[in-house]
């Protein structure tokens, strides 16, 4: 684990930064999946999206630390 991020003097927990980053990345992925029509093959869209988010967040955390 790295230390806290320093945003203009305010120390922020790394998890928060990763979570926001993962959220932004996921917004892009959702849009692409929607445009391609991949959601037609998904049973529970919200569940799918949440799982995808956890995967992305996990990947970021693993890559950084």
């Amino acid at each position: 684990m790295t230390g806290e991020y320093d945003l203009a003097g305010v120390l922020v927990a790394p998890m928060l930064v990763w979570a926001l980053l993962a959220f932004v990345i996921c917004l892009g992925i959702y849009r692409v999946l929607g445009a391609v029509g991949a959601y037609r093959f998904v049973w529970h869209r919200s569940l799918f999206n949440t799982a995808l988010y956890v995967l992305v967040l996990g990947t970021i955390a693993a890559a950084v630390s």
Binding site: S46, L47, T50
Partner: protein, 676 residues
């Protein structure tokens, strides 16, 4: 008594799970007030995912703004208690004022901005150094609660707005069809006709309440929102057309000879609206309408022919609007995306009532803080916070004091429930699992009531206050004196909120109805004056919003209900005719413009007078002169239109009877003269 069903208990279990998840995380990461996260879950909880989403969004935005305002205030007025209290009181008042000018769900952000500042700011009056931490943790806990609720709501048995929305649309169209049939068969003023018309207006209001949340539901529904809005606008237009048709038919039926040719046509039309799915081919009907059309010379020679011509024009509108409505309904059902931007919805705004609510809240808060500062009461901060909350939550209601009183009663019960937990149960448990188990029975039972709209007013204060007084904490000190003091402060705060509101806004629905009447007359005066800020869509939107407001307030068995609604409908038609008249005014010959301008000025004066409850001259003679002037002109589409509009206005005013020379009724309840 309405009992919750299995579906409501599923909802309750979901909400409780979300609350416990939020509390667990708050404990785990060491947030100081886990109760705030749990409070948020219960305040925002709603059976529909879209509603949770929209409320969550605006609650977050409002909390961040409010917390920032508190930080700014506390740093600016450090060591100046009185000024800080004044600042916070004004801020809450301002937010309430703004909130009353916008509609749900957006008004929620303003309310939250107001009382979050109070919740964060007032505890910091004594200890300003902690303000930043308090503000940050408050926002963190609210966001945590919202994330937990959204997750559980979306993942576990999600309940979509979509099917409900489609059902409401069908209800609305059905109500429209029934009332159209009533009007065409001449039963519009019978008991059934009135019931159907009332249903039409109420269904419109309930669809609108749902539509605003649909925009935050699934992407498919978001796409349909534009269609729904368009459908609403078509149905509003249909409504005004029907009102126009109704009294033309009534007038024509009284005249011998004219109605003979009309009856078969009306019968054909009525058959068209007899069954839900009957017929889509309008050609035969349109041909029949064309056949009855009187000639241009006949319109000028004969007032009745003129009336018939306007009726036929409205019947044509009726058919095309109905076809559009069915087309839009099909588009929504098939999920076809809307093309282009849907027109914005313009709503009735009442600055006076909003300002009054804001000022009374600020006054209440100042009273409480003066007492707090003067008496050095250590729990005065809690009382002040509750004044702000009580004033904010009920500001939008006609009779906030009565509802706030109910809130206070349930809060008292909740404090007892909280006492049982805090002193009877919590000392005996020592783990989170046990905590969840002991909380479950009460919260599951009360939470189920949250899913049933008529019970929300009882269940919400019970749940929220219980959570607030329990003050869940990792290591808690049991202090009977502190608990009692805080409980008393809560009740005193809410009580003061009730008192302020019953002092400043004691008038209830009659006041609201009166304000609607004034606003209607102002808009009519603006239309008569040719104010560029008013167009047809905007006027229709506002008028329909006012009709909803009236219909909701006249829900009971008030004897003057029919009269008030009729007056409002009449004004809708006068307004539409004024718009049409203004449009053709430019293309008219000189002498007619003169007469028409005089008539419009007379109308403007008369509407302004109605709005201010003054008496002015009767505009009917001036209108008649203009009518004579325009009748003398050679026929052209513009003069025909001017003639039809003038006749429409004159017809409505003369039917209305209570206008001009006669004094407006002193009784504030009646919408007397709204038509004139």
């Amino acid at each position: 008594m309405i009992l919750p069903g299995p579906r409501d208990f599923v909802f309750s279990a979901k909400t409780f799970a979300a609350a416990m998840l939020a509390v667990f995380i708050a404990f785990a990461i060491g947030l100081p007030h886990p109760a705030w996260a749990m409070l948020t879950v219960y305040i925002v909880a709603s059976p529909f995912a879209g509603m949770v989403q929209s409320k969550a969004l605006y609650r977050t935005a409002g909390s961040i703004i409010g917390a920032s305002a508190a930080v700014v205030g506390v740093t600016l007025f450090i060591d100046m208690q009185e000024l800080l209290c004044l600042f916070l009181a004004c801020w809450v008042g301002l937010c309430i004022y703004m909130a009353l000018l916008v509609r749900p769900p957006r008004n929620y952000a303003y309310l939250l901005a107001g009382y979050t500042a109070a919740l964060v700011g007032f505890p910091s009056v004594d200890q300003p150094q902690a303000i930043f931490d308090t503000a940050v943790t408050r926002v963190e806990e609210i966001v945590l609660g919202l994330i937990c609720l959204s997750l559980v709501n979306r993942l576990v048995f999600p309940q979509r707005v979509g099917p409900v929305l489609r059902r409401r649309i069908d209800d609305y169209l059905e109500a429209a069809r029934l009332w159209t049939r009533d009007v065409l068969t001449g039963h519009g003023e019978d008991a059934t006709g009135k019931v159907d018309r009332h249903r039409f207006v109420l269904d419109a209001a309930s669809l609108d309440a749902l539509r605003v949340h649909a925009a935050y539901d699934t992407p498919e529904l978001r796409a349909a929102e534009g269609h729904v809005r368009r459908l609403q606008q078509r149905l509003q237009a249909l409504f005004s057309v029907l009102v126009a048709i109704e009294d033309r038919i009534t007038t024509l039926r009284r005249l011998p000879g004219v109605a003979d040719g009309l009856e078969p046509l009306l019968l054909m039309l009525a058959r068209r609206f007899e069954e839900a799915g009957a017929g889509t081919d309008d050609r035969a009907l349109l041909a029949e309408i064309d056949r009855l059309q009187p000639t241009a010379t006949a319109i000028r020679a004969d007032r009745n022919a003129l009336l018939l011509a306007t009726l036929l024009a409205r019947l044509r509108d009726l058919l095309s609007l109905w076809a559009e409505c069915r087309e839009l309904r099909a588009a929504i059902a098939e999920g076809r995306p809307a093309s282009g931007r849907a027109p914005a919805v313009e709503l009735h705004k009442d600055h006076l009532t909003a300002a009054l609510a804001g000022l009374s809240a600020a006054a209440g808060i100042l009273t409480c803080t003066s007492f707090w500062i003067a008496s050095d009461w250590p729990y005065g901060g809690i009382a002040t916070m509750m004044v702000a909350v009580a004033c904010s939550l009920f500001a939008a209601l006609d009779n906030p004091a009565a509802v706030a009183r109910g809130f206070m009663r349930m809060s008292a019960v909740a404090i007892l429930v909280g006492a049982v937990y805090v002193f009877g149960i919590f000392p005996r448990i020592d783990s989170f699992v046990l905590l969840a188990i002991v909380l479950a029975p009460f919260f599951m039972a009360a939470g189920a009531a949250l899913a049933i709209p008529p019970l929300i007013g009882t269940a919400l204060p019970l749940l929220v206050t219980t959570v607030a007084v329990m003050e869940l904490q990792n290591e808690r000190v049991i202090d009977f004196a502190a608990f009692t003091n805080a409980g008393i402060a809560q009740l005193v705060g809410i009580g003061l909120g009730v008192a302020v509101q019953s002092l400043s806004r004691p008038m209830g629905p009659p006041w609201a109805i009166r304000r609607l009447k004034v606003a209607v007359n102002r808009d009519l005066a603006r239309l008569a004056a040719g104010n560029s800020g008013m167009d047809r869509i905007r006027f229709e939107n506002r008028m329909f919003d006012r009709l909803h407001g009236l219909a909701l307030r006249l829900a009971g068995d008030r004897p003057d209900r029919g009269a008030i609604l009729n007056d409002a409908l009449m004004t809708l038609r006068i307004g539409l005719n004024l718009i049409a008249l203004r449009q053709v005014l430019r293309h008219m010959p000189e002498q007619a413009v003169q007469a028409l301008t005089t008539a419009l000025e007379a109308l403007e004066r008369s509407f302004r007078a109605q709005a201010d409850d003054r008496v002015t001259e009767n505009p009917l003679p001036v209108l008649d002169r203009a009518l004579a002037e325009v009748s003398a002109l050679p026929p052209s589409p513009d003069t025909d239109q001017a003639l039809l509009s003038l006749a429409g206005i004159r017809h409505a005013l003369s039917l209305h009877g209570r206008i001009g020379g006669q004094a407006a009724e002193p009784n504030a309840i009646a919408l007397a003269g709204a038509g004139g």
